[in-house]
Assembly symmetry: C2
Homo-oligomer: 227 residues x 2
């Protein structure tokens, strides 16, 4: 499903260059459950943003289902994102003026799903993450963990093929965290490819494979690591 | 240092009332290290916002160093906050257009600290949290964990008496989390009163006392719990 070859992402900061990702080579099969771990600042979110077609690599190759992503235009990229990829951002990016149901409806709004159908699926997704009692709350009327669960519900409501989750349980207690992981692992068992960035060892151990990043390099879990 | 008596905080949502805190009675001595734990949505951040004089209780009493906070006006409240209380918000609230040094200088700017002195103390605080290599980065040029560490540096730069930290290690790897806790525990050993909200059992166990909230009520760690 995913092939990365010598992928780099460099940020230019005045005269200094920050190498957030340096020669990342990785392949991920359809239906895998991968955990991405590594110190703060090691490139995990940068990697996820590129996999989610939200950012472009500085150099190297990224193939999604055999297609070279660099050759796609903006319209094809957003079509690919909307149809196949679910994303749980590290800081949620909820829309402040919409309530929980409204925020979960957003991806379906873009995809032209009927109003009644949107409502029904949004309620189902929020119930699945334990928020049936907070449907009418706007983001600032929700706790940190409740906002995170709205973001998770929004990421799965279109039935994606690939789910990219950046610390999906960082603001949740142990019990809520396990419930969320049970939900997304059920989807993984039905074929969803799952890539989860986490600092929590208990969450990382649930994955089939652990990829470790340090200073933008894959030091564990990639193909045979060059010396 | 802190006395809460039958403290309530209720949010009115249309016809429904949300009881974020219900009859919380708690006393905290100067120099204590307290962990506040509990499920997502149980009232932890609400409690911290009230302790930090950022929100007012709906009813009940809150005394800080013997003074009833409800009787203070806005000017006295902001003086108390600025002088004695450091706060690490659950979602940081960094100013987007300032770099790391600029964000850490903000509390000193309000307190009228000289420019050179501000710079020096801001650099010291950022080095103490391991960010000497990111001084000129703005929040969107920092990773999640790096932003969290800027927020921690800002919270301690005025040498507060009370530090309220809402999930201070939620976006940090194990190693960075321990470094941060070592730093704030050194300050606790010198007299800083420390109240840390966390979902991480390893962080909670470092405290002298654990206060557990459920549905807005103290169910563990308070004074003798009524039946
Ligand atoms: N402005 C508001 N209006 C209505 N309800 C609110 C508001 N702010 C918070 N709440 C509700 O109050 C309850 C307590 O919220 P609080 O943020 O204190 O929880 P928390 O313990 O910090 O949770 P978490 O671990 O998820 O951060 C939540 O159920 C939340 O939905
Ligand atoms: N726009 C930017 N400009 C310059 N440097 C950046 C920018 N965005 C990120 N960085 C740097 O790139 C590095 C990688 O960031 P990234 O967000 O991928 O880290 P991360 O592994 O997700 O860390 P965390 O666990 O703290 O969230 C960081 O050191 C960060 O300072
Ligand atoms: Mg990150
Ligand atoms: Mg909270």
């Amino acid at each position: 499903m995913i092939e990365l070859r010598s992928l780099c992402r460099t940020y230019r900061m005045g005269s200094e260059d920050v190498h957030a990702l340096a020669n990342v080579t990785l392949s991920i099969k359809k239906g895998e459950h991968i955990a991405v771990v590594g110190p703060s600042g090691s490139g995990k979110s940068t990697l996820l943003n590129i996999l989610g077609c939200l950012d472009r690599p500085t150099s190297g190759s990224y193939r999604f289902s055999g297609q070279e992503v660099a050759e796609l235009g903006e319209v094809e990229l957003s079509g690919l994102r909307q149809r196949w990829i679910g994303f749980v951002f590290q800081f949620f990016h909820l829309l402040p003026r919409l309530d929980a149901v409204g925020n979960v409806e957003v991806p379906m709004l873009f995809a032209g799903v009927e109003r009644e159908e949107r409502r029904r699926r949004a309620r189902w997704a929020l119930e699945a993450v334990g928020l049936e009692h907070r449907l009418r709350h706007k983001p600032e009327e929700l706790s940190g963990g409740e906002r995170q669960r709205v973001a998770i519900a929004r990421s799965v409501v279109m039935g994606p093929r690939l789910l990219l989750a950046d610390e999906p349980t960082g603001n949740l207690d142990r019990h809520s965290a396990e419930e969320i992981m049970d939900l997304i692992e059920r989807m993984n068992a039905e074929g969803l490819t799952l890539i989860v960035v986490t600092h929590d060892p208990a969450i990382a151990q649930r994955a089939g494979r652990i990829v470790r990043l340090e200073d933008g390099r894959v030091v564990e879990g990639g193909p045979d690591i060059p010396p």
